[in-house]
Symmetry: C2
Subunit: 366 residues, 2 copies
């Protein structure tokens, strides 16, 4: 999470990547894995998803320090067909096995049009959309799913039995920017509860239940209970968000043999056990179906049709999935990445502890 | 929709299929297409999804009568790789091209592990889950998507620009019954508004907006406006339901070249134009990833873990996707299919008009 929300510093993305990689390397992480993990974390900061960026570096390093993540994994393909594979992540940092699997899909889809990979023995892999977007330069549609620590109660239940299990889909367009959906299958992420708690504010009904399974507007009670699936209540369709979370678990964990449901221990809990997170990736070559330019012209039409649609009262216009993050990426590319005071403090602590003061100085300009 | 809701008759599934097929054949539909369409429609009635069953036969036949659906289509594969195909449905009854495409996926996945198909020039294909379930006996996971008449407003919009675009996923289990998710990506289907309207009851907030884009509890105003995506409001995540609806449209229509968004004219509107509906199907062979028995044992564990989880106050237990429909299938298999008075009346009208009185007599036992 992004800490206190107070302003801290505005930093350059490249310097933030260098700092993050330097810290990771002090835990015996090889440079290529450290650079990759830094790239994924800073990509979240760069597009405004601060909850999944370097504010989490301390959690990643805590797992390394406790021996819960393997700093020098050898992820490998343990089962393979022309179109599918299963990757054993060897309990390394999440992005290491995840990018191997996504890139395998892209490489294979070049030949066989559609390919998918399920990953076991993984760890928290950052933002789901980062992997889906890798398909875009290859004129492919990308899919990225992961399970996660169970925080979400199934409809009619009161105990957290499912992760926020995100679904990310990236679709190339032509003149328009790509469509990039990256969504938790819960109504909201845990980060939103943490922000409300920090601000001392109530949460809307429909986000969480307390430990007894009753709807609550108290973020603390929600933390002691569970998040609600997308749809919030049965009447508004929470069985659908719950069902989608199960599908993500099936493809990510049941196909790969990773831990599923309440057995999955991702980043934000159980800091004394190995996580065994599961992921699922797919790449689909568009021109297997239709000439790429025809497809992207239709995507452009669809995107423009949505963006130019008449807005509801109180809104400027309809937004297309991915637009806010791509806008923020542009803005932060020009202006730098704002880190709040809490995150700066945590990075400073890591820098001192791991003797990365030089990289911190380069980052903060002192 | 299922008409007035008053009790009408309780009928045998086989007799209902025979009647439905007989009516369709009077429109020059070949017997195998008529039987298939009857099978899909009655499958909906058999599992309690009355809105998608024979109550819609009159809409199917109206399209045939007006020449808007081709009674004798020759659906064909117009583009093909080892793992993908595009099917041109030749504007026949929806199930004809849809089953061809789904079965192509299953057949191919036997060899290549994963296969998918996008269908254009289709029509309303009934319940999405019927196609996904076809993968189950083959030890595969099945996926079935379709776009539909635009009834749903995107988040921040007020005009219906997307269909209720369902997602169906069927996953085999071992001792447990399969997991079958079959969900609209809107908060609710149009059928729920129609039921509320018939009953003269208000609808919950979060289902629909009026023509000005303001939330409404008046089902009639909702019909004049738009349904809301799953999530209902931005605060509760409606941008996610909206995003999923776009993904369904991309795979179903943009890959196949079918009509998308507001251009798609499915069953319940625009009864003067050809629909050009798009669908998407996929089949994934489980044992490409993991021995089938290992996978199904894990599915059993997952399903039992959910079913036996502590319930929230006011509920008996957590329900797993597909359970209510499979229960209803068992019940109606024993007791027959209840048709309400409105549906019986509409079938009677069709029987007289199409001279299928004998089949009606066999159905109603007179």
């Amino acid at each position: 999470m992004s800490g206190s929300g107070e302003p801290g510093a505005r930093v350059d993305a490249a310097a933030l990547r260098r700092f993050t990689s330097a810290v990771l390397r002090t835990y015996d992480v090889p440079v290529e894995h450290a650079d990759l993990t830094a790239e994924v974390l800073v990509a979240a900061d760069a597009c405004g998803i601060d909850s999944h960026g370097v504010s989490r570096l301390g959690l990643y390093t805590l797992k390394l320090e406790r021996g819960l993540v393997n700093p020098r994994p050898r992820p490998r393909i343990v089962r393979e067909t022309a179109t599918t594979c299963v990757v054993d992540g060897d309990n390394g940092l999440g992005p290491v096995a995840a990018v191997l699997a996504m890139d395998w899909c892209i490489e294979r889809a070049r030949d066989v049009a559609v390919a998918c990979a399920s990953v076991g023995h993984g760890n928290h892999y950052g933002i789901a959309g980062w992997y889906a977007r890798r398909a875009l330069p290859h004129a492919m549609i990308g899919l990225s799913l992961t399970n996660a620590t169970s925080l979400v109660a199934p409809t009619f239940g009161r105990r957290p039995l499912l992760g926020t299990n995100p679904i990310a889909v990236a679709v190339p367009a032509g003149r328009e920017r790509p469509f990039v959906l990256d969504m938790a299958t819960s109504a909201v992420s845990a980060g939103k509860l943490q922000l409300a708690m920090a601000a001392g504010e109530p949460i809307p009904e429909g986000w969480a239940v307390d430990a007894e399974g009753r709807g609550t507007t108290d973020p603390l009670a929600g933390f002691g209970g569970a998040l609600l699936p997308l749809g919030s209540t049965r009447e508004l369709g929470s069985h659908k968000g719950y069902g989608l979370a199960v599908v993500v678990d099936v493809l990510s964990a049941l196909l790969s043999g990773a831990a599923f449901g309440p057995h999955c221990l991702s980043l934000t809990s159980e800091l004394d056990q190995v996580a065994n997170v599961g992921h699922f990736f797919a790449a689909v070559r568009v021109d297997a179906f239709r000439p790429f330019e025809e497809f992207t012209a239709a995507m452009d039409d669809m995107i423009r049709g949505l963006r130019e649609a008449p807005p509801a009262p109180g809104h400027d216009r309809v937004v297309v999935a991915g637009e806010p993050e791509l806008d923020e990426e542009d803005r932060r590319g020009r202006e730098g990445i704002p880190l709040d005071a809490g995150t700066v403090e945590s990075l400073r602590g890591l820098a001192v502890e791991r003797r990365c003061e030089d990289e911190l100085g380069a980052l903060l300009g002192r």
